[in-house]
Amino acid sequence: MSDEPRDDGFDDLLDAIADGEGFYVECANGHGSLPPRLSCPQCGSQELSEEPLPDSGEVATYTIVTVPTPQFDEDAPYVTAVVDFGPVSITGQVQGVDPEDVETGQVVGIDVGESVTRDERLIVFEPR
């Protein structure tokens, strides 16, 4: 995979999360979004800055995927969740817990893991 070009913004964020320095994009009106951005998806503001991602978030909704795409064939079953970090929400996989024990409102931290099937990087959440 090392020969593949990076995806600017996305790979930068994953690098930062892996280093424990996750961030999000904030506009002049306080709306959060994920990079790469030149304008705020909520209001169009072009005054953007990178702000530290809160240390933990809450599971807003989740599902246990049993029929995956081929990229996650050997990963299934796995938990996909949307986690609310306050100014921004992020989709990833909840790991380090029995899928049956995941629940909404659960407090999780964010990290970068690898898929079992293709060793590809992905955003993961782990209960705090």
């Binding site: 994920l34 807003a60 599902t63 246990i64 996909t80 989709t91 990833g92």
Partner: protein
């Protein structure tokens, strides 16, 4: 205002036809529509064509000219891609073209070949309607996305898997007499609840099947219909489109679909009606929960109320507001890029009294089509009304 007329409709059987090419299916649907319209094919001025996964399923981009040619038409042709709302978007632009007088006769339709690549590859192909970087790379599938919405709905308003199963049972029952439907088989609530889970809380029977098929309709201007003495009684009187953030996590709501509401508000206003005028409708039930979100987004139910509509019998063929009399995407099948026009076809036949479920809507005059793309980051709504000349 001049309202375009539906002059003729045609479609292929929806189902598992892995050997049928997109072009062959669209040729069958397009020729059937031209034949049904009874017009001179030379009068057709443009093709508005919907398709979603042609590059992945058939290694075929630039499909529109190929499809015009397949129907024997030498006209400018454009492909519309808005995921599962592709041909809904195509209808909308066709309506505009006819309304503004730039054309008098157009062909609108779509086709999708899906089963030839198998379930795993089709699941992958469907997933690209979501945000690749931030959703698909986290393992989100399409059933997974709607499962996230279903759980959020349950937590916000209540509801259960049984409620969703009632929707599947209803739509399967509706499809029983539909010879074009992929699934002409009755199911029970127990069947649905016992089926394998795809993405909790959604099971196999909460999900539409993977489908091959094509659809087409000839739309004409009001003047053309009058000048050529066409036997058309169905007009498209309202059109609307809404949009939302691509990724679910960037939305304000997970259990509501504002794009549907925006599309509906525009279409109602365009047609000069309110939601209470709708007699029956086809909504985008790619998953059972999607039917619930659609009915609420369309303003036909308050948030939290549509989950029990099928179980209460309100949306069945015997109910006050029949929903998805064709069987919906759930049982009729969902050849993605063809689905928006499939809804138009069902409603036209129902209004004209030539659909096997027409008895359910006898005397009705106003119908609505709701087509959605992705997790409803795109939505189109069209109002169809029977006109008395």
């Amino acid at each position: 205002m001049s309202d375009p007329r539906v002059a003729g409709v045609g479609l292929t059987h929806f189902g598992k036809h892995p050997e049928r090419t997109g072009r062959a299916m669209f040729a069958e649907a397009g020729l059937a529509a031209l034949d049904d319209a009874g017009i001179d094919p030379d009068d057709v001025e443009a093709l508005f064509y919907g398709n979603f996964m042609g590059e992945l399923a058939e290694h075929q981009g630039h499909q529109a000219p190929l499809m015009a040619e397949a129907v024997g038409l030498d006209v400018p042709a454009t492909r519309y891609e808005s995921a599962c709302a592709s041909s809904g978007a195509a209808i909308r632009d066709a309506v505009f073209r006819l309304r503004n007088g730039e054309a008098d006769v157009v062909l609108v339709g779509g086709s999708e070949r899906m089963t030839n690549i198998g379930t795993a590859a089709a699941t992958d192909a469907l997933s690209i309607a979501a945000d690749d970087l931030y959703e698909v790379r986290a393992g989100m599938t399409f059933p997974g996305a709607y499962a996230l919405m279903a759980r959020a709905y349950f937590e916000a308003y209540g509801g259960s898997k049984e409620d969703l199963a009632e929707i599947a049972v209803k739509n399967h029952e509706h499809a029983l007499p539909n010879e074009y439907a992929q699934m002409q088989q009755a199911i029970t609530v127990e069947d649905a609840l016992d089926a394998p889970i795809i993405a909790d809380p959604l099971g196999l029977y909460d999900s539409c099947p993977i489908t091959d098929g094509a659809t087409a309709a000839v739309l004409v201007s009001e003047d053309y219909a009058a000048d050529h003495d066409l036997d058309t009684s169905v007009a498209i009187t309202g059109t609307g489109q809404g949009g939302d953030k691509m990724a679910l996590h960037d939305r304000q709501y997970f259990a509501r679909t504002p794009a549907t509401k925006d599309a509906a508000d525009e279409a109602y206003d365009d047609a000069g009606i309110g939601p209470d005028a709708v007699d029956f409708l086809e909504v985008h039930d790619c998953f059972t929960i999607a039917e619930v979100l659609a009915l609420e987004g369309l303003g036909l139910y308050e948030p939290g109320e549509a989950i029990g509509a099928a179980g209460r019998g309100e949306t069945t063929h015997e109910g006050a507001l029949p929903v998805n009399l064709s069987g919906g995407l759930k049982a009729k099948g969902h050849p993605v890029g063809a689905t928006g026009v499939a809804q138009l076809i069902s409603l036209t036949k129902l209004l004209e009294g030539r659909h096997p479920r027409a008895e359910a809507v006898e005397g009705a005059s106003t119908a609505l089509a709701h087509n959605a793309g992705g997790t409803v980051a795109s939505a189109t709504v069209h109002v169809l009304q029977e006109v008395v000349e």
